[in-house]
Amino acid sequence: MNVLTAREAGLVSCHRCELVHDQGVARCRRCHAHLSSRKPYSLQRVWAWLIAGIVAYIPANLYPMLVTRQLGTTHEDTIVGGVIVLADTGAYGIAGIVFFASVVVPLSKFGVIALLAWSVTRPNSLSQHSRLHLHEVIEFVGRWSMIDVFVVALLTALVQLGAAASVHPGPAAVCFALSVVFTMLSAQAFDPRLIWDRPDTSPKET
């Protein structure tokens, strides 16, 4: 296929509204967004936010997410501990959702972003289409990790029953929320155009 990119044609398309301009124009004439052919410092920002996200994820799993005081006893739950409690009470579906959103999604997101950022600078065996697909999936599911933070917020606001039962947030709630925000910023900083800027070196699909 004969591919001509906007950059090769001396054009730049607005990242926000997709209006095409000549290169050298600083701001979009329609929506006034800053114009750049590729997101500036894309990979540096991807790595920086990703490392911040991973660092925040560690205390998020070590410290308690939720502190429950019930009739004089205090119980602290980490993220994984909370999932186990849910599974013990028989709520396997909900336990699955929380485990997926709080453990599977963040960990696979770290892996996928690292893989994407690493592979644009090196020849690799993963085809461009599958990398683009990974990027779309990760942008879509990443936000859903926030679910556990909202659970903690709701329980804290709701379960305030004096001596009978009360729920308080643990330090992990802050770390976890930060980790989700940092990884979202990391995924947004990645410019999918970088995937296509190098010729595809993977074995051709037939």
Binding site: M1, N2, V3, L4, T5, A6, A9, L11, S13, R16, C17, E18, L19, V20, R30, C31, H32, S37, Q70, L86, A91, I94, I97, Q128, H129, L132, E139, R143, W144, M146, I147, D148, V149, F150, V151, A153, L154, L155, T156, A157, L158, V159, Q160, L161, G162, A163, A164, A165, H168, P169, A173, V174, A177, V181, M184, P192, R193, I195, W196, D197
Partner: protein, 227 residues
């Protein structure tokens, strides 16, 4: 340059009719694929026809046409429902004679213990402030056009922000979180649903609907007349 692959859901004419000309005379029909930067010369398509990038298959033209009536109606509905949900009871709980009722603002203010305050800001922003700001920007950008007037000052900028804030509006995730929280306390205490709970659920459905019926490209072309 290539003519974008079109599709009416069944047939795809990818690769057909490749043109190798650069048409600087009609820059409005020139589109660079947002995910791979390949240039396409997109012809005016009848409504309902989509166009895809020939290289990466990213959808370039959704074939939808934004109806200002419907988009503005959903915008106003979302704003009213969220504001309503702010001031009415969201959930209530009862156990051993103790009871507690929380509003949405109570949830947002759940983390008021000193160092947890950033979390309060994040929760307030993602479930209340950002959805409301998004809708306000959308109405600001579109309402004058709907009235047949020229676009408001900075209307395009407002719409750009409304789109940029989309991933940070997390109302629907909050509703799923509420479901999880309810399961967690179901055997601990008795739960009551307040009117705000249902209003917020309705808002989430309408936000999803608004996303389905709003096509950014057609709004951009309406805003093009901005002075």
């Amino acid at each position: 340059m290539a003519v974008a692959g079109q599709d009416d859901d069944v047939s795809r004419s990818c690769g057909a009719g490749l043109l190798s000309r650069i048409d600087y005379l009609h820059p409005m029909t020139l589109l660079a694929c947002p995910s791979c930067d390949m240039l396409h010369d997109v012809p005016d398509l009848p409504q309902g026809r989509r166009a895809y990038c020939l290289r990466c298959n990213h959808m370039l033209v959704s074939g939808r046409h934004t109806s200002l009536d419907r988009t503005l109606a959903t915008g106003f509905a979302i704003a009213i429902l969220i504001v309503f949900a702010l001031f009415f009871p969201f959930l209530s709980i009862e156990e051993l004679g103790f009871s507690n009722t929380t509003t949405l603002l109570g949830v947002a203010a759940a983390f008021l213990d000193g160092w947890l305050i950033p979390l309060t800001l994040a929760v307030t922003a993602s479930i209340v402030a950002i959805p409301l700001i998004r809708v306000a920007l959308l109405i600001y950008a579109l309402f004058p056009i709907w009235r047949g007037r020229p676009p408001a000052p900075h209307a395009a900028r407002a719409f750009r922000w409304s789109e940029a804030l989309r991933p940070w509006s997390m109302a629907e995730i909050f509703v799923l979180g509420a479901a999880v929280a309810l399961v967690k306390v179901a055997d601990l205490a008795t739960i009551g649903f307040g009117p705000a709970f249902w209003a917020f659920c309705a808002a989430v459905f309408i936000i999803a609907f608004e996303r389905q019926i709003t096509d950014a490209a057609s709004i951009w072309s309406m805003l093009d007349n901005e002075p």
